[in-house]
């Protein structure tokens, strides 16, 4: 499997571990940046509507980005080769949507400061499933275990400190506290379990771009179904959505940033596994905090103690990310990954040599370039037109932003996008 440490075709000097780590960190930056546009949405809409608006933006972007990067013929060929994985992609989308809805109830009942650290345990759940079902960390030395588990735990602890330091009174009574805690833990369990389909797909050689194309159907379908249930029917849901149209551009923009972050998360899960990749991408809280504090001035009223907690929590989280980054899977662990891959090949009649080549970033379905039909341009232009149309109808939100910091954070996110994108392309051709 990922037994190589250097580029095999002279495209990039980075190892797959280094690429996976970079993707995990880029995922954190973009998932964090996705929170920024949604902050521009003034209050007054139900959380379901905000979630649905964002998921609709995600749906548009999730069709467009794979088409732009690899083309529909590639995606369809990949899906045709591994049709069974469509079941897992849909399942993953459904798990995401239910978890996301649970967070609405968790925030309502116990507030974000308590709920966030609870559902942030999803990385530990993912780590457990990675070990149990996909042989991750098996065959590793004790120091590798401690780097990964210690790093993941540090990221969760850092998240707790940040959430505690930045907590705001929610005005909700304690009467529903237990249900709120259950909802937050449930969201963590669902998101952590969602990484089973991710890893399943990638050790079977599926391309992340193909996976997210199917994933988004499960995600959007379940979000619409849950929105309709909790709004008393589809017609009520559409009425509410229409009211939210002036804010829809910001939600779509948040959804678009989220897709970029999610794609990097998928590549991280592919190249370094869910045990290492997911905790790294969970550093998104650090980026969300940076946007909130530096651009929107959310921490202006914070006391000295709370500021120390924010700095401490951030440092603990960074230390956790560094620890995981240094825990490259040794040959003995990669041999365990290979066994998991071979088990999938046997069960679903796939060619192990071909799958192994895809996992090394050396081959993808139909290695020869596929012809791009004209209507792929129409799909990309159509998505662009939707964004422009929503942008023309968007209302300027009455919220102060620090422009210099906004430019700095945007620039850093774009640097992550460009550098990681180029390295991924040169080393793996986005395979």
């Amino acid at each position: 499997m990922n037994t190589d440490t250097t580029a095999t075709r002279g495209r990039s000097p980075c190892s797959l571990h280094q690429i996976g780590v970079m993707c995990g960190l880029a995922a954190g930056a973009w998932l964090g940046a996705a929170e920024a546009p949604t902050k521009l949405v003034t209050m007054g809409f139900s959380p379901f509507i905000i979630s649905l608006g964002m998921v609709a933006g995600v749906f548009v972007a999730r069709w467009t980005v794979p088409v732009a990067l690899k083309g529909t013929a590639f995606v369809l060929m990949d899906l045709k080769e591994k049709p069974h994985l469509m079941v897992w992609a849909i399942l993953a989308g459904m798990l995401w949507a239910v978890a996301n809805t649970l967070t609405v109830f968790a925030i309502r009942d116990v507030g974000l400061s308590i709920a966030f650290p609870l559902w942030n345990t999803n990385s530990l759940v993912g780590l457990f499933w990675g070990w149990l079902l996909f042989n991750e960390l098996r065959g590793s030395a004790a120091k590798d275990w401690s780097k990964v588990i210690g790093g993941a735990a540090a990221i969760v602890v850092g998240a707790c400190l940040l959430a505690y330091a930045t907590q705001h009174p929610t005005g909700t009574g304690p009467s529903h506290a237990m249900l709120g805690i259950l909802a937050a833990l449930g969201a963590g369990a669902l998101w952590g379990t969602m990484y089973i389909p991710y890893r399943k797909a990638y050790i079977s050689g599926m391309n992340p771009l193909s996976f997210v194309t199917v994933f988004t159907f499960g995600e959007l379908g379940t979000t619409i179904a849950l929105g309709a249930v909790f709004h008393g029917g589809l017609s009520n849901l559409w009425t509410e959505l229409a009211k939210a149209q002036p804010a829809m551009f910001w939600l779509f923009l948040g959804g678009f940033c989220w897709v970029l972050g999610d794609l990097f998360q998928q590549y991280a899960a592919k190249h370094i596994g869910i045990g290492r990749g997911i905790p790294l991408s969970n550093t998104n809280q650090l980026w969300g905090l940076a946007w909130g504090a530096l651009v929107f001035g959310e921490l202006a009223g914070l006391g000295v103690d709370a500021r120390f907690l924010v700095i401490g929590g951030s440092l603990v989280m960074i230390a956790g990310a560094v620890s995981i980054s240094l825990a490259e899977a040794p040959a003995s662990e990669q041999a365990s990954w290979k066994k998991a891959m071979e088990r999938e090949c046997t069960r679903y009649h796939m060619d192990p040599a071909r799958v192994a080549a895809v996992l090394r970033g050396e081959e993808s379905p139909g290695n020869t370039p596929l012809k791009r039909p004209w209507w792929e341009i129409a799909i990309v232009l159509g998505a662009l037109a939707i964004f422009i149309w929503l942008g023309l109808g968007a209302t300027r939100q009455a919220i102060d932003v620090n422009l210099p910091w906004m430019l700095v954070l945007t620039s850093v996110s774009i640097v992550f996008l460009v550098v990681c994108g180029i390295i991924l392309w040169r080393r793996t051709r986005f395979s």
């Binding site: 069974h84 399942l91 649970l102 679903y348």
Partner: protein, 33 residues
């Protein structure tokens, strides 16, 4: 999808773990709602 693949899916632990967790999540959601 071929029957043999369908059978492989339905006897795969990797399928049932997410399904059970999903059902538990939906149940919890309706209890909360």
């Amino acid at each position: 999808m071929k029957d043999s693949i369908l059978k492989s899916i339905l006897t795969d632990l990797h399928f049932w773990v997410p399904v059970v967790v999903l059902i538990a999540g939906i149940t919890l959601l309706f209890l909360l709602g």
